[in-house]
Symmetry: D2
Subunit: 410 residues, 4 copies
């Protein structure tokens, strides 16, 4: 016995690799297929269309192949409504729940395709009934007993990014992945252009920052980008904020200290004092208001109303009163920022970049900068359609970026 089902692919299905991926899936999983229709785009701006008849040995086998095709953008030619099942308990998903990709996704409900809100990877999809039915993602720990959760693969449509090769615009260059081969200055210039373009379109830029940014001397230039409105939101850890404020509190002498061994000697004590002082004031905004903190990245965030999320971690000293110590709460705060962002700059932090990246749809622009190529590769592997990585020194990158942004402005 053989069972079969028709699936369709459309868009830049060749150039994006979608067709090859789908053909490969069927073959790898032991099915077979025939191409029933194939209209190919002859020019790069043309879209293509293909309809395949997929065959497998039994319904379950077919189902697993169809599932994989789904996740990669091939959709059944004969859509039915999605299957819904209630969550059996809080934080427990029904068997066979549909686990999301980070690509734009639609769920068929009452014969209509409903867009899934706040799409991100590895979530469940909850459908709410009503005059205008809604579908949205929920992470596991947000699932509540009785939530109507999509199961199986029926009635789901996924649209992986198409990556036409020169889509124009500032992000056209963001296709080739890690750019260790690209000239550094030109790449920074293009990233500057992409930020400009995002701002012109009214988009929001989220900077995700690690403490290496402070250590490598890029603090003042990042503060300037915050002040001048190139960075709209900040996501970082407790350590980033403490180092930033410590440079302010222990003022002019520190410039010298970072170049002598004295720094290493007193550093940790200053660190603890800094936290202690902010606790005494109540919070970073209060310490800014009272005039205790007078400069730096956190200062500019407070002064210019750029929201920031400081997420705690087990290696923190303190922490600062502004740091969210609960990982689930911190994730929720990060999630909110990530969903608002139109462009994300991941600057020298693996942990926070992964946390933000987990919440991003594949359509958000991402720039990832780190001196460790493994970090850049790992972050770009997460499947963003518009991501560029650069292996460089954050201490030279931020000043060069700031200079180019301001130069363009003037």
């Amino acid at each position: 016995m053989t069972v079969s089902r028709e699936v369709e692919l459309s868009g830049h299905i060749i150039d994006s690799g979608m067709m090859q991926t789908c053909f490969g899936i069927v073959m790898d999983m032991g099915g077979s297929f025939s191409v029933e229709e194939f209209d190919i785009g002859r020019h790069k701006e043309d879209e293509s269309y293909a309809r395949l008849l997929v065959e497998a040995d039994d319904p379950e086998h077919l189902q697993s192949i169809i599932h994989e095709l789904h996740q990669n953008g091939a959709n059944p030619a004969d859509p039915k409504d999605a299957t819904l099942e209630p969550a059996p308990a809080d934080q427990v998903v029904p068997h066979g729940f549909y686990s999301t990709t980070n690509h734009p996704t639609y769920v068929r409900y009452d014969g209509e395709w409903v867009g899934v809100e706040n799409i991100e990877m590895d979530c469940a999809v909850v459908v709410e009934d009503g005059a205008e039915p809604r579908a949205y993602t929920k992470v596991l720990n947000a699932v509540e007993e009785g939530d109507r959760i999509v199961t199986g693969d029926t009635g789901i449509k996924v649209e992986p990014p198409e990556r036409p090769r020169d889509s124009g615009g500032a992000f056209g260059f963001m296709q080739g992945g890690v750019s260790s081969e690209r000239p550094s200055e030109s790449t920074i210039e293009k990233i500057a252009n992409a930020i400009e373009e995002t701002k012109k379109e009214g988009g929001k830029v989220l900077a995700v920052c690690g403490p290496a940014l402070i250590h490598s001397g890029a603090r003042e230039e990042l503060a300037r980008l915050v002040r001048e409105g190139y960075v709209d939101m900040l996501s970082a850890g407790n350590g980033f904020a403490v180092h930033d404020i410590e440079r302010d509190l222990y003022g002019t002498s520190l410039g010298v200290d970072t170049e002598t061994l004295d720094h290493a000697r007193h550093g940790h004590k200053h660190h603890i004092y800094t936290i202690s002082e902010v606790i005494r004031e109540g919070s970073i905004p209060e310490a800014v208001e009272s005039g205790t903190i007078e400069s730096g990245v956190m200062y500019e965030c407070v002064e210019n109303d750029r929201p920031f999320v400081l997420a705690g971690s087990i290696r923190d000293d303190g922490p600062l009163p502004d740091t969210i110590t609960d990982a689930v709460e911190a994730q929720n705060a990060i999630r909110e920022q990530a969903h608002e962002a139109d462009m994300v700059l991941m600057l020298s932090t693996l942990l926070h970049s992964v946390a933000v990246g987990n919440c991003l749809p594949s359509t958000t622009r991402v720039v990832c900068v780190d001196i460790n190529p493994a970090t850049v590769t790992q972050l770009l592997d997460r499947g963003s359609a518009q991501a560029v990585g650069m292996v460089t020194d954050i201490g030279t990158f931020v000043p060069m970026l700031a200079e180019k942004l301001v130069a363009e402005e003037e």
Copy 2:
């Protein structure tokens, strides 16, 4: 005007580098000194003694020099009682508080030297009065208003590790830092010997584990080390436990999956299912008891009563009900484990190793294994006296270690 004070050094002050460090501190900080007495150990087992007269321009200058000398093991020849000041508020330290090193430390109280309990880096020292006065460390967030906190440098004695070159015992080899130059197999053998020795002395071994250990196929061998009692405690993150349990729940097929592309495809869904299943059961121990989890590292921990701490992080899926999501609570749990450990194996995780390392006194034996040399270097830089680092593949290290431990046993 010149002010001066006598300080003393004793022990293996040359071989350990203490004398050079102290001479360097005085000169770097602009003071001067004369050597008033110098009895040198002629043989390596001999101890040495030096008494210096340190001179500076004014009392404050002298004070800052004396502070640094302190931290590095030179103690005033004319000890006075430590100065105590009450903490002005919860989580706020008095100005001039003494910030600890990770070396054994004594505080002078009522003319007696009182050992500081639970010594770890960057803490305050609290002194409790009573029939038997006590001194112990408190991290900043544990400081309570009114705690009597040591300030200044008077009446404090620090004993940095002495590192005599061949102190004998299995840890004699643990002096040279990162061992990329050492033959891999011999180094693993020596680490095995050190574990054996620790166990023979009745010591406890804490394994700090990252998920790479599971991915690289070392799960079964680590489970065996837990079962056979070479690992007494486990410190890890949510991801480690989930991957470990996922291998159990999705059973025999997974063995094949890890070698094909199928794994990558289904991996994340299995991941979420695994967490969901454990949540349904209530916790890992309950899932073991009910027979849902039947093998692996977490299974052996539960079955053999090896306590584990799973610390949450912002990149977690789920998390599991057993994961401590609050960073401060998690640190406290880690701290407790760290203080109980006599030997710590840091296996392919930077984040958790730093968190554990922060809580360790410099006298705890530490083995740090990672394939990234930067990770090993960073972890060893934290000043443990008996630490060895090895840049190797955790997927070959754990099986070889297990084989050597068992071979020695039989």
Copy 3:
């Protein structure tokens, strides 16, 4: 005006990515195409066939597109003979010379397809007339005035590897590139199987070795693989051989030395002595014959008639009399070995692995092992069809490999 030409693709053109690559080339380079025929393989063992009509604005434009398609396996549907031009001078190529890929290549001469011998990357193709015309590669410095060199793209057929996903055999696993995600022990087992299979087929295994192999203690196990016939040829640098022989000449004490600081102190002098001794004897084989060298990798090579090439470099001490100091001569010796090899083990050396890799056709099996992921990635990027990379410790890899090979044997 538009010009057009038909090209054909056949084989596993979807699964191998060839079709997507070719479609992409036409679109990227500003041409267009229509699919005139498309017979798709429905099962993974089926071959596919596609005929495209490629259009461009002018003949030169068309030509450049056709050239790229060529290099990637699409061949003109209407083949003509290749164009030949004489080399204008020694080491000078005619304008428009055809620069080879490392894939199997055929040249059309007198209406017949002639296979290009000794295919390797970036060479010229020389055609020799005669009863049986021959075509073979020449590197630039071997080109002689008057050599009849292929120019343009006419009459050339390239067959990129097809990579069907589970082609069976021991090398089926060698598709996924760098295996840091794979379980280490299983991967080593599969490499052992691949070596076994190569030997069973009567193939030759070439080991390319760096000095880290000696430092990490894997010398004895590699010597064993040479002795037992798993390694047929050796390619290394002067330093590898010197370290290997030094371990032999400075014998029993060295075992201890590598674990103490004494080694570092005397190492370099022993190094120079070793070279001096071999020079005194005349050569490594003479030093083996005279009994001066009694063990190790070089010893086993000499005793078991495994040919070795030691290539000099500017960082060498000495060098040994057996080391080929001229880079061009050394390349020629390496080239000869590379062409004879059926499987190449690249063990902890970037320089020598690149040199060997440059001379390999894409059909040779390659295993690349290094602890630095960047090295593995760089080596695998060179386009071998049957290459597997493993990021691991050479000091644990070689012993585990040797154990598995011997275990299988017994």
Copy 4:
């Protein structure tokens, strides 16, 4: 029986670590010592003096301890003439030859201390008789039968660098090793100052360059540094020169190419063409003279009479006619440059930097820049007294350096 000998230490023996090292050597090697005199410098500018009586079990034991002390700057209090033995054959050293360090060294001959010329590591010292006796180093392959070579340790004086902590001058900052902790821009500024100072003192700057410098877009700025006289000599490989010239020959279009995939496609053919063109012209200088090469680093070297050495390697294409293919000849050319240099910039090349570093005395200023921390660490480990390492992106480093040098000039 015990034998003993007096040795003396003088200079900044504490601050430089010399005293600790020497005490450690005696104890590690199983000897004992008493301090017979110890005049300590109280201020950092003061020198110290110590005289030790070293005791050992027998003359051979004493001799090996004295040898180690020697190498680290402790000299016998009762100097005798050095022992000389003729080399038994070409490239063969007499047993017990003295193998040099890279520190300034003196040999006692006829009761006088003769400075050893061209000091570098791992060489033999040859003494030439005459009115003014000379002593100089010879690498093993330069040793000729009958050369009078220093053996044993008698009559040799080594002066390790003293590293007073703030010796003033631009190189004062060059003490702390790898500067990943230092602010990037400030560090680059200090390197610029050091270059300025070297030039002001009439010193020569040697740039050792890898091809990554070209790939990362720093070619024009390096060419400018050559043109403006900040770089006096160049040491590189064949690949560096080919990439540099290729950018010139394939001109304006290349700017675009480096940012598209087209570059990768045509790159290698251009590479071969470039070499072929230079061969046709005869050499790089001839190609510059004929107007074929019109810009770039090699162009500026030729136009401004900055001597360059291109050393061949087994991974080269071509090579260019200017490339020295014999490793021994190339080393000799590198050695000559190294001995002339007062400051060496090692820019993104491990192989060539090691080759140059091997020939440098410990007194030459060295700046080592690479994005791979392991490379920087390895290069700095070679024992230069005035070396600074920076882990950064060469593509941002060179432009920033050039800007600062020119800014200072104006």
